[in-house]
């Protein structure tokens, strides 16, 4: 009696449960959409910040140059230099997002244990490690751009290292490790495919 019930429910459950790769494909689509949103934010927000002097002053006074006695140069040239400096981590982030896009694009095509995801994971890891260096560097250069026009003694050369830089470095190294494991998995899958 009990086994009859199980026999009746099993096929229904199998029909409802999606295949694992279909789930990955759906997830990959969402991740790719998030990549587009992320890329838009990375491009638009810094451009908006550096083009609006009032907003920039507010942010700079709150987080970067808190000493009120040090004036900020908010002319177009200083802001352009600052924006150029901020482009450095933005470019690295865009590269990282591109790698995520390609990685999940490969997953959508069903390429899970192939060389492509391993390559993309490695590049993503590298991008995150570079971002951990590029972000404090850009921060230093941005503040320098806003205070370079000040008289001597009021120019600021700030080097700030924070927890977010450590996190970027840490995640980069973790993804690098995962890429190494995925390379082994790809080799096993390749070998398995040679068995019929």
């Amino acid at each position: 009696m009990r086994s009859d019930t199980q026999a009746q429910t099993l096929p229904r459950r199998a029909a409802v449960t999606p295949r694992p790769l279909e789930r990955v494909r759906r997830l990959a689509l969402w991740v790719q959409l998030l990549c587009v949103a992320g890329a838009a934010i990375v491009l638009i927000v810094p451009a908006q910040l550096w083009s609006r002097a009032d907003w920039l002053e507010k942010v700079a006074r709150s987080y970067w140059v808190t000493d009120i006695d040090i004036p900020l140069q908010l002319d177009a040239a200083s802001r352009a230099w600052g924006w150029a400096a901020s482009c450095l981590p933005s470019a690295v982030l865009l590269f990282a997002l591109w790698q995520v896009w390609c990685l999940f694009g490969a997953y959508r095509l069903g390429q899970v244990f192939t060389t492509e995801p391993v390559r993309r994971l490695r590049r993503l890891a590298l991008a995150l490690v570079v971002h951990a260096v590029a972000q404090p560097l850009a921060h230093t250069l941005s503040i320098l751009a806003l205070t370079l026009g000040n008289p001597a003694g009021q120019r600021q050369l700030v080097l700030g290292l924070g927890f977010d830089h450590f996190i970027s470095l840490f995640i980069g190294l973790v993804i690098w490790g995962i890429a190494q494991v995925m390379q082994q998995a790809q080799a096993v899958a390749e070998e398995n495919a040679e068995f019929i």
């Binding site: 070998e191 068995f195 019929i196």
Partner: protein, 78 residues
Amino acid sequence: MPIVLTLDVMLARRKMRSRELAERVGITEANLSLLKSGKVRGVRFDTLSRICNILDCQPGDLLRYEPGTEPDASEAES
């Protein structure tokens, strides 16, 4: 590889086409072709047992050992 597959001989004996065998075994025709030409690293036991069942033969009727160059042990592991 000193292991030679004589699947094509058995197919001829049973007067069966590759396509039909592939369909009944549940593998692609391309994979069956690779199997016939010996361009595979190995054959799974379940594939072998299905082939034996369909062709009504023993694994020994499909596989033959011909002394030759043995694969390197490190190559086999990699």
